[in-house]
Amino acid sequence: MATETAEEKFVGTTRKVTAHLTQNEGLSFEKSAPGKKAYRLAPLDVPEVDAKALLGDAAREQSAELPELSEIEIIRHFTRLSTWNYAIDLGMYPLGSCTMKYNPRVNEFVSRLEGIAEAHPYQPEALAQGSLEIMGLLRECLLEITGMEAITLQPAAGAHGEFTGILLARAYHQAKGNPRKTVIIPDSAHGTNPATAAICGYEVVNFKSNANGGIDVEALARAVTEETAALMLTNPSTIGVFENEIHRIADILHAKGALLYMDGANMNALCGKTRPGDFGVDVMHLNLHKTFSTPHGGGGPGSGPVACKKHLEPFLPVPVLERGGDGRLHLNYDRPQSVGRVRAFFGNFGMFVRALAYILANGPDGLRQTTEDAVLNANYIRHKLQDLYELPYTTPSMHEVVFSDRRQLRNGVRTGDIAKRLIDYGFHPYTVSFPLIVPGALMIEPTESESREELDLFVDAMRQIAREVEENPEMVLEAPHSTRVSRLDETTAARKPVLRYRTQNTGSRTQG
C-alpha cells in the first residue's frame, strides 16, 4: 500500500466559513476594580434610612463580591462573548427535534410594548384585558391547530408540559378510582418522557421499537393492561416517521381505559396538515420554542402548553381563562378537580406574545407552507446523503431524518466526531447519538427556515466529511480545528467540578 504524506491527504474545502479574528475576553470579575461604576441611581426623594437601625441583625455585613465595571466594559464584555456563539441568525442548526427555525424580530418588538411588558399578574382584570385577550386568542389558535378541546398555557417548557399532562392523566384515573401504576414509553423517546413519568410516581415500562423504529402494534396490545395509565408517544417519532397506525394505537389504549399522551415536540411536521385531536390523542404538549418560533435564548425560556380532550378538562391547572357574560375575559379559580398549579402566575406570558405574533404572521396558508417546506427540506437532505450515510430505516421521513454512523465506524469515526468536524465547515452539529434506538445516530432536522443554498452547503459539508473519513480520518477525529477552544476536558470538569469563580476574597464564607 502506498503511503501518503500529510499534504496529499484529502482535506475538504469550507465554503460557508472563513477564519477570522475574535476578541479575547476574561471573566467580568477579572476586570473588576473598586470604584468603577456602570449605574447612577436617581437621588432619593424620601428621607434616607440607616439600614442597621432598621434591620438590626438582618442587615448585611459583607457585600457580595460582584464585579465593578464601567458601562463600556460591560458592553464589550458581553458583545465579545456573543461573538463566540453560533446562532440561528448565523446559519442552519440541523438539530433533530429541536426545530431551530427563524425567531422573528417582530415577536421581540411586540413583547416589549409597554402595556404588555409592564403588566403585573395581580393587576385588576379590568386593567389586564389586553394580556387576557392575547392568552385567549393564542388558546383558540392552538386548539384549532391541535384539534383538541381544552388547553392550559401554564407550563413553562416541554418537560413541564409533560409533567402537567401526566398529572392530568393521573387525576383522570384517580377520579375513576384507580390512578394506575405504569406509563409505557418507547425506547426512542426523549429523556424528559421517562423522567417525567417517574416524578409523577409512575413506573416506566420501556417499550421496544419495531424494525421500522415505530410502535409494534401487536406487542402494544399485549403490553397495555388495566394498570397502564398512558402511552407517551412522540409523533412523528424521534426518527422522523409518522405512526400511521396511530388510530389502532389509540383504540388499543382506550379499550383498556388508558390514555394516549402525545409529545408534541415534532409538531413542525404536522401543523396545518393533520391534527392530533383528530387521530385519537387524549392529551399532548406543545413546545412554543420549537414549532412556534419563540427563541431558544441559549437554553430557554420555553413554554409548554398542554391541550386535552373534554374528559380531562376538569383537571386542568388553575386558573382557567374564561369569557364571562359581559364579554370580558376572566380567570376562574373555582376548579375543585384541578390538579393544582404547576407554577406561580399564568405561564411564560412573554412567549405567548411571541407565539401568537408568529401565528398571525403566518395565517393558515403560511403555517401549511411552513410545514411543507420543513418536510421537503428534510427529504432533500435525506436524498442527497443516503448514498454516503447509512439509513437505519427505509420508512419515509417527515421533518427530520436519522442516519447512523455505521459506515464511518469502519474507519473508527463516530457520529460525535463527524459532528465536531461539521463545526469546521461552519455549521452547528446535528443531534448526536439520539434516539438511542439508532446506534451512532445522526439526527437532522433542517426546518423550513433554510434556503436551498444553505441546504446545499450543508450537504456539501457532509459529503466532504464522508470523504475525509475514508481518506483522512485523523482530520475528523481531532476536530474541531478552527474554534477558539478545542475539545474540552469534560472528564475533569465532572470529577473536580469548578462551578464558580473565586478570588482570595471569596474563600469560604461563614458569615453574611
Binding site: 456602570a38 432619593l44 424620601v46 434610612v49 438582618a58 448585611r60 457580595a64 460582584l66 465593578e68 462573548l81 456573543s82 461573538t83 453560533y86 446562532a87 441568525d89 422573528p104 411588558a117 399578574p121 393587576q123 385588576p124 386593567l127 389586564a128 384585558q129 389586553g130 389558535c141 384549532e144 413553562a156 413541564h160 429523556g191 421517562p194 423522567a195 416524578i199 409523577c200 416517521v241 409518522f242 400511521n244 393533520t274 391534527r275 427563541p295 431558544h296 441559549g298 437554553g299 430557554g300 402566575f345 406570558f349 412567549m351 401565528i359 404572521a361 403566518n362 395565517g363 393558515p364 396558508d365 403560511g366 421537503l376 420508512t395 477552544v485 474540552l488 467540578p497 464558580r500 453574611g512
Partner: protein, 456 residues
C-alpha cells in the same frame, strides 16, 4: 410567506430532484382520513404593521400610566437599557443550549458568571443555571432535600408565597398519597414571622426539609439562624426561598441554609404578566450531585486554554432518564442572562445602593400610609419586625373599596390578602421600590384620607 426562503420554482426543482411528483407524496404516510383538506380556522396572514397594531391595541387595554404598589412575588425595578442591547443580539437570542461547547463559549461563560454572582449574593457554594421560576424551584428544592436525606416529610411556612405553596403541593400530591406524609404548614406569630415553637413541634426525624421564605410574603425578614437550628437539630435541611432578589443587597444572606431557591425576576426582568422569569437553586457544595438543572463548570481544552462546559450531566434527564434528579431540560437561559447583565451593571456597590433605596422608599411609604396623623390610615401590621420593601396594612375599608377609589386616581393599591389569609381581615400587601415616587406615596395617602372623610 416572508419567513420562508424559497421560491416556488426552487420547491418544484427540489421535488423533482428527490423524485416526488408533488409535496403531497411526502405527506402520503398520514392516513387519508386524518389529512386536513381545509384551511385552519385561525386569523388570516397579517403583515408586520398589522401585527404591531394588533398588539398595540392589546397593550392599550392594559393599565397604562398607573402608579403601582403591587409586589407579591413580581417586582417593578428599573431595567438598564444595556440589558436589551445585549440579549437582543442574535448570538445570544437565537443560540441553542450549549451542548457543543466549542461554539457556545459565550453562553457558557455568561452562565458561569451568573452562577458565581448568585453564590456571592446568597452565601451558598454552588448555583445552577436556572429553573423555571421561584415557585418550581421550591418544589424542586423539596425533592432535592428528600434525595439528600432519604426522608419524605416536608414542612412549609404559611408565610411562603401562597402560589409557591400551591405549586409545591401539586408536585407532592401523589408522593404524599403514597407515603402518607402530607406536607405540613406552620403558621406565623403576631410578629409576622414563622412561629418558632410551632415549627419546633412539627419537625421530626422524618422531616427532609423545612422551607421558609425571607423576606417572606408579608415583606418581613425571618429569623433564619433560629429556624436553621430547629431544622438541623433533627437532621432536616433548611431551604430558604427568596422572591425579592434585590433584598440581598442589604439583607443578610441566609448562610445557615442548605438550599436557597430564588426568583431573580427583580434583576432586570420585566413583569410581563407573570413570565418568563428566572428561578435559581443554590446550595452547599456537598449537595452538588443532587442538584437539579444545568451546571456550567470551568475546564481546559487540549492546549490548556480555559473554557467552560455543561457538567455533571449524569444528573440530568438526557443521560439518566427516569433516574434523573429532575425532568427539566429547557430552562430560563436568556432571562438568566438579563439577570447576569443586571448584576454586572449594578455591581458590588450598586446592588447595595439599590436595595438601600428600596428600603428607604418602603419605609417612607409604610410610615406615611399608617401615620396616626392620616385620617383613614391603615394599621401597619407586624410593625416591630424587620422588613424590606413590602408591608401589610389593615384598614377599616374593604380592600375592594379602597382599591377602587385608588384606581380612580390611577393608583393600583396593594394586593388584598383575604383569600389567602382570611384571619387578617381587611389586609393589603404593599410594595415600594426605587421606582415609587414620593409624590405617588403622598397621593395614595391623600386618597385614603378622603375615603375616611367620606365615611365619617
Amino acid at each position: 410567506m416572508r419567513y420562508l426562503p424559497k421560491s416556488d420554482a426552487e420547491r418544484a426543482a427540489m421535488l423533482r430532484e428527490i423524485g416526488a411528483s408533488s409535496i403531497d407524496d411526502l405527506f402520503a404516510i398520514i392516513p387519508e382520513e386524518y389529512r386536513l383538506t381545509r384551511d385552519l380556522n385561525i386569523p388570516r396572514q397579517m403583515g408586520e404593521q398589522e401585527i404591531v397594531d394588533h398588539f398595540k391595541a392589546a397593550a392599550a387595554k392594559n393599565a397604562n400610566g398607573y402608579a403601582s404598589f403591587l409586589g407579591a412575588g413580581v417586582y417593578r425595578h428599573y431595567r438598564p437599557v444595556v440589558i436589551d442591547a445585549i440579549v437582543q443580539r442574535g448570538e445570544f437570542l437565537t443560540s441553542y443550549t450549549p451542548y457543543q461547547a466549542e461554539i457556545t463559549q459565550g453562553t457558557l461563560q455568561a452562565i458561569f458568571e451568573f452562577q458565581t454572582m448568585i453564590c456571592e449574593l446568597t452565601g451558598m457554594d454552588i448555583a445552577n443555571a436556572s429553573m423555571y421560576d421561584g415557585s418550581t424551584a421550591c418544589a424542586e428544592a423539596a425533592m432535592m432535600a428528600m434525595r439528600v436525606t432519604g426522608r419524605d416529610g416536608v414542612i412549609v411556612a404559611r408565610t411562603v408565597h401562597p402560589e409557591y405553596r400551591e405549586v409545591m403541593h401539586t408536585y407532592a400530591q401523589h408522593r404524599e398519597a403514597a407515603s402518607g406524609h402530607p406536607t405540613q404548614e406552620v403558621g406565623y406569630g403576631a410578629d409576622g414571622r414563622v412561629d418558632l415553637a410551632a415549627l419546633e413541634a412539627a419537625v421530626t426525624e422524618e422531616t427532609a426539609c423545612v422551607l421558609v421564605q425571607s423576606p417572606n410574603f408579608f415583606g418581613v425578614i425571618e429569623d433564619i439562624a433560629a429556624i436553621a437550628e430547629i431544622a438541623h437539630k433533627k437532621g432536616a435541611l433548611l431551604a430558604v426561598a427568596i422572591a425579592e432578589a434585590v433584598s440581598l443587597g442589604i439583607v443578610r444572606p441566609p448562610v445557615e441554609a442548605d438550599i436557597v431557591t430564588m426568583e431573580a425576576q427583580s434583576y432586570g426582568v420585566a413583569p410581563s404578566y407573570g413570565g418568563p422569569f428566572c428561578g435559581v437553586i443554590a446550595a452547599k457544595e456537598k449537595y452538588v450531585r443532587q442538584m437539579p438543572g444545568r451546571l456550567v463548570g470551568e475546564t481546559k481544552d487540549k492546549q490548556g486554554r480555559r473554557g467552560f462546559v455543561l457538567t455533571l450531566s449524569t444528573r440530568e434527564q438526557h443521560i439518566r432518564r427516569e433516574k434523573a434528579t429532575s425532568n427539566i431540560c429547557t430552562n430560563q437561559a436568556l432571562v438568566a442572562l438579563m439577570a447576569t447583565v443586571f448584576m454586572t451593571v449594578y455591581g458590588k456597590e450598586g446592588i447595595r445602593e439599590l436595595a438601600l433605596q428600596n428600603l428607604a422608599k418602603a419605609d417612607y411609604a409604610a410610615r406615611t400610609l399608617s401615620s396616626a396623623a392620616l385620617a383613614g390610615a391603615g394599621k401597619l401590621l407586624f410593625a416591630g419586625s424587620p422588613r424590606f420593601n413590602e408591608f401589610v396594612l389593615q384598614t377599616e375599608e374593604s380592600p375592594d373599596a379602597l382599591n377602587a377609589r385608588l384606581l380612580e386616581e390611577k393608583i393600583i393599591g396593594g394586593v388584598a390578602l383575604k383569600k389567602w389569609y382570611p384571619e387578617l381581615g381587611n389586609a393589603t400587601l404593599w410594595c415600594a421600590t426605587e421606582l415609587t415616587s414620593r409624590e405617588q406615596i403622598e397621593k395614595a395617602a391623600s386618597v385614603m384620607a378622603q375615603i375616611t372623610a367620606g365615611v365619617r
